[in-house]
């Protein structure tokens, strides 16, 4: 009998060694584990009177985000839940454990996790090294974006609690996203934006407005997958009154357009979520100045926002 601890049967350590060195190097070079602490601090500095913005720390935070998503998507916007969704009262998929979840809490509303008010889901390239896919890839062909150099960020699953739609939650989220963007030196933003309902004829004008005015440059243009493809070109450019149509767009897409977002070719009907999705693309180099000016000018009513402007100015 030996008194030394037995070293032979340690499975996981061996596996770690077996992995090819290249992948480990890649993981370390843009690891999202190593510099998470810094970004957490930066995002936490986005503060308002009683609102707190931060990244999810553990499974409880992510649970809270999933619960909010269930409330908004399934109970309010009539998405079709699966049996699992109903049982758990959550909206979840296999991507969730690998993503960064941005959360907004209102401390006046209630105890810890019941006070969640808004979420956003962020996916970067190193996260897909583990799982293998972006969410948008299931609906759009985004190979052109993937082949570009530099970091890319997918946005998705954004939602705000129905009682807080008239409050500056979305702006807080976007401020945090800009901090995130600058920290990770992100070159391209993309994601799905959705029109509610699955009736295409309702949105013919809006689609053609987007198609004519905001189509992405061919070098990064995403395209809807063939089996989901819905055309966006219904009217000529002359037939549309731009100002009128812009007012009828859903608020999230309006916000995106103000940033200077481009739109991919073709739309996709998402039957599970009862929406029509449009792929949006945004080169950060194009928008940064515009948006930063917008941030500086507009201060939100009734809440003192301690901006992290100092940080942003330094970077630019």
């Amino acid at each position: 009998m030996c008194l030394r601890p037995l070293k032979k049967e340690l499975g996981p350590k061996k596996k770690w060694i077996k992995q090819p060195i290249n992948t480990i190097k890649n993981l370390l070079s843009n690891s999202y584990i190593l510099d998470r602490r810094k970004i957490k601090k930066k995002i936490k500095s986005v503060k308002s009177k009683n609102y707190e913005v931060r990244l999810a720390k553990n499974f409880k935070d992510i649970d809270a985000a999933q619960n909010l998503r269930y409330k908004v998507f399934y109970q309010e916007l009539n998405a079709k839940p699966s049996i699992k969704n109903i049982l758990y009262e959550k909206d979840f998929d296999e991507l969730d454990p690998f993503c960064d979840h941005l959360l907004v809490f209102d401390h006046k509303k209630g105890p810890k996790h019941k006070s969640i008010v808004g979420t956003y889901r962020l996916i970067r390239r190193p996260m897909t090294q583990i799982h293998g896919k972006f969410y948008t890839e299931s609906e759009f062909n985004i190979k052109k974006i993937l082949s570009t150099q530099g970091e890319i960020l997918e946005l998705g699953r954004s939602c705000v609690h129905p009682d807080y739609r008239d409050k500056p939650i979305m702006q807080l989220l976007w401020k945090a996203i800009t901090a995130y963007m600058i920290h990770y030196k992100i070159k391209i933003l993309f994601g799905c934006a959705s029109f509610s309902g699955s009736n295409v004829s309702k949105y013919k004008k809006q689609f053609s407005y987007l198609y004519h005015n905001y189509l992405a440059p061919t070098s990064i243009r995403p395209k809807a997958l063939k089996n989901h493809y819905v055309s966006m070109n219904y009217f000529n450019k002359n037939e549309i009154n731009n100002n009128e149509v812009f007012k009828t767009l859903p608020p999230l897409i309006k916000g995106y357009l103000r940033l200077g977002v481009h739109v991919g070719e073709g739309a996709v009907i998402d039957k599970q979520f009862n929406t029509i999705d449009v792929c949006i693309v945004l080169k950060t180099s194009a928008i940064r100045k515009k948006y930063l000016e917008y941030l500086n000018k507009k201060k939100v009513k009734n809440s003192k926002i301690i901006l992290f402007n100092k940080f942003l100015r330094r970077k630019n």
Binding site: M1, L3, P5, L6, E9, L10, K13, F59, L87, F92
Partner: protein, 253 residues
């Protein structure tokens, strides 16, 4: 809350259908005691969404004394779904509602933890092992929070000092709580999922039933036959070292 109800209903249907069969078996056919519990615990794992990753070989020689760390009542379900054996428990467990009956049906050895009754404990354990049944002990005495291993109580290792007793294999097991809902746990969130110190049972159970999945690693270390000359305290420390080594290597590498 729907999932909690759903899981509880399935659990109760399962237990009360299998209960009468197991009672008959334990009264008349003592050879086949472990068949139903193994099946039952495997299904319990499915109901709770526990995914077990097994590392290392389980000792096949009978009888073997398994020494394991203890962090939650889930340990019992996990271990008995992997191999056939029974547990050692304190005497108070036998009078707990439902759990006491379930424990008795799995041939659990109940011991008195008073100071004077060490010889009785020894006899009970050795009688059990002589029938060529495996045993699992949790020498920590209570459950830890899963981040560390508490010091072992050495009184149960006394059986190896007696020369009249047959030689028995020891295998140490490390149970590691890795992920909840696919997300790797950190120190704080692991402390919240396990059941330890003065936590209340029912809120902890409800929290557990809400979870989508729990990933657990069970590491089986190499088995060994302790020498008779070995001190019981040294033996306990050796087992502790073994388990601690694998746990720390897994968590804080």
């Amino acid at each position: 809350m729907l999932i909690v109800l759903f899981r509880l209903i399935i659990f109760f249907i399962l237990t009360f259908t299998l209960l009468p069969f197991q009672i008959i078996i334990i009264l008349f056919f003592t050879k086949f005691v472990y068949i139903i519990p193994a099946f039952y615990h495997k299904i319990c794992c499915k109901i709770l969404g526990i995914k077990i990753k097994k590392i290392g070989k389980i000792s096949a020689t009978k009888p073997t004394l398994f020494v394991s760390n203890h962090a939650s009542y889930l340990d019992i379900i996990i271990l008995s779904s992997l191999f056939k054996s029974s547990f050692i428990a304190k005497k108070e467990v036998s009078s707990w509602p439902l759990l006491g009956i379930l424990a008795k049906l799995q041939n659990t050895v109940f011991i008195d933890r008073k100071i004077g009754s060490i010889k009785e404990q020894e006899n009970l354990i050795i009688n059990h092992l002589k029938k060529k049944n495996n045993l699992i002990i949790f020498p920590e005495g209570t459950s830890s929070d899963g981040n560390k291993i508490l010091p072992f109580k050495s009184s149960l290792f006394n059986i190896f000092q007696n020369k009249n007793n047959p030689s028995i294999n020891i295998q140490t097991i490390t149970i590691i709580y890795k992920k909840v809902n696919g997300i790797t746990l950190n120190r704080v969130s692991r402390r919240d999922t396990t059941w330890h110190s003065n936590m209340e049972f029912i809120p902890n159970l409800i929290n557990l039933l809400k979870k989508i999945s729990i990933d657990i690693e069970v590491v089986f270390n190499e088995k060994f036959i302790p020498k008779v000359s070995f001190d019981r305290k040294k033996l306990a420390f050796f087992c502790w070292k073994n388990i601690n080594y694998t746990l720390i290597n897994n968590l804080y590498r």
